[in-house]
């Protein structure tokens, strides 16, 4: 599949705009999904995903063909989305939510000693509840959690997409998981 995409990219670079259609159609669901899970509503997600594809097109000359196109594309999409989130909620997030997880005693808060029901309710209601809980994470944790568990990217690829060291990716995933654990404990 990467070879097909590489061929299409070459055609677009040569000036054949129509070759871009196959690229968009191949990645549309992935890109839309990342935007949607991070921003939380379909209208803005569509807007962001479109913008990501248009930017990728106009900047295609700067794309290094030895690298993976998907990584580059996801980076454009996540950067746009994170920018949008920052503009929407100026200072509301920024660590406020996960403050309790900083420092040495970040795990000191122990779980309530009760057995959890084993059944996984797959209702739409539950799904949208969980989606809201993901959205309640500060953007820097939200992006790694979305890329890791919803798009199932490897740690190294997340590090490439977000352009942050792999150690930072791990720390953010750990904190994001702990935050979600607390939020979803009673589900």
């Amino acid at each position: 599949m990467e070879t097909m995409i590489k061929k299409k990219i070459k055609e677009v670079k040569k000036g054949d705009q129509s070759a871009y259609e196959d690229i968009v159609s191949f990645y549309q669901n992935k890109v839309y999904h990342i935007c949607y899970r991070m921003i939380g509503n379909s209208y803005e997600a569509e807007d962001l995903a479109q913008e990501a594809f248009i930017r990728a097109y106009t900047n295609l000359s700067s794309f290094d063909e030895r690298r993976k196109f998907s990584t580059w594309l996801y980076r454009i999409a996540t950067n746009l989305t994170i920018d949008r989130i920052r503009k929407k909620k100026p200072d509301y997030y920024l660590d406020a939510e996960v403050k309790g997880t900083e420092g040495l005693d970040m795990y000191s808060q122990l779980a309530a000693e009760q057995a959890l029901p084993e059944e996984e309710v797959e209702s739409l209601e539950l799904q949208s509840y969980i989606h809201r809980e993901i959205l309640a994470l500060p953007p820097k944790y939200r992006s790694v959690i979305v890329l890791r568990y919803l798009d199932e990217l490897a740690l190294q690829e997340i590090s490439d997409v977000l352009d942050i060291p792999i150690g930072t990716v791990k720390t953010r995933i750990h904190r994001g998981r702990e935050a979600l654990r607390k939020r979803l404990r009673h589900v």
Binding site: Q17, V31, Q50, T58, L110, L126, L150, L184
Partner: protein, 215 residues
């Protein structure tokens, strides 16, 4: 083993798939002996399952065609083809006539290198000629086969051949270079088609002859 430091760290390492055999054994032993870590571990794994359960979402109908419709237009060279299709006889007659008498067409095709009439203090980056903020170009500026970005000033006319004005601020898109008048004291010409190119040359030829006459 300390629950809040070591055990939980090992749980996260496990979830990242990075436990070695020895660590795995230590974590397993601890979990068997410590109900609260067991619970913590269970909650972590469960929240991951729940997150994954939100499932994938597909892009809305018509997404790809919307993107394609909103892409910036292909280079203006296409317009020339379109014009040829619309007025085939007229245009081909005109082309033959002009080609027979001039080498203009081949000159158009020959050099697709970015050229700029004045080089000092200007930056050429990939296909864009940049007039930096602190630079004032004295005299007319001609850019061929490249885009022009003006941050400084131009004291004279601007002629853009087969290129566009570009700006860092897409929301503030400049229509037909009109606003670029603010940067240039003289006239702004954009020459984007082979016909305009011929016209530009013809005019130049005529005015050159004319000014030679008046000398």
């Amino acid at each position: 083993m300390k629950c809040n430091k070591e055990a939980v760290m090992l749980m996260h390492k496990y979830l990242d798939g990075e436990l070695d055999r020895e660590e795995e054994r230590r974590l397993r032993d601890h979990l068997q002996a410590c109900p609260s870590c067991q619970n913590h571990f269970h909650e972590l794994k469960r929240s991951i399952t729940l997150i994954k359960n939100t499932g994938p979402v597909a892009a809305p109908e018509g997404f790809t065609s919307n993107v394609m419709a909103n892409l910036p237009k292909e280079r203006k060279r296409k317009n020339y083809t379109r014009m040829l299709q619309r007025h085939p006889i007229l245009t081909s007659a005109a082309i033959f006539f002009i080609l027979m008498f001039s080498g203009i067409f081949s000159a158009w095709n020959q050099d697709h290198q970015v050229t700029v009439s004045k080089q000092e203090n200007l930056i050429i980056q990939s296909n864009t000629v940049i007039v930096p903020e602190d630079v004032t170009v004295n005299g007319d500026l001609v850019v061929r086969n490249g885009d022009l970005k003006v941050e400084g000033k131009i004291d004279g006319d601007i002629t853009l051949i087969n290129g566009d004005f570009v700006t860092d601020n897409p929301e503030n898109e400049l229509a037909n270079g009109e606003n670029y008048q603010a940067y240039a004291s003289g006239e702004v010409h954009e020459v984007n088609q082979v016909f305009e190119w011929m016209w530009y040359n013809t005019k130049k030829f005529v005015s050159d002859v004319f000014s030679m006459d008046s000398n």
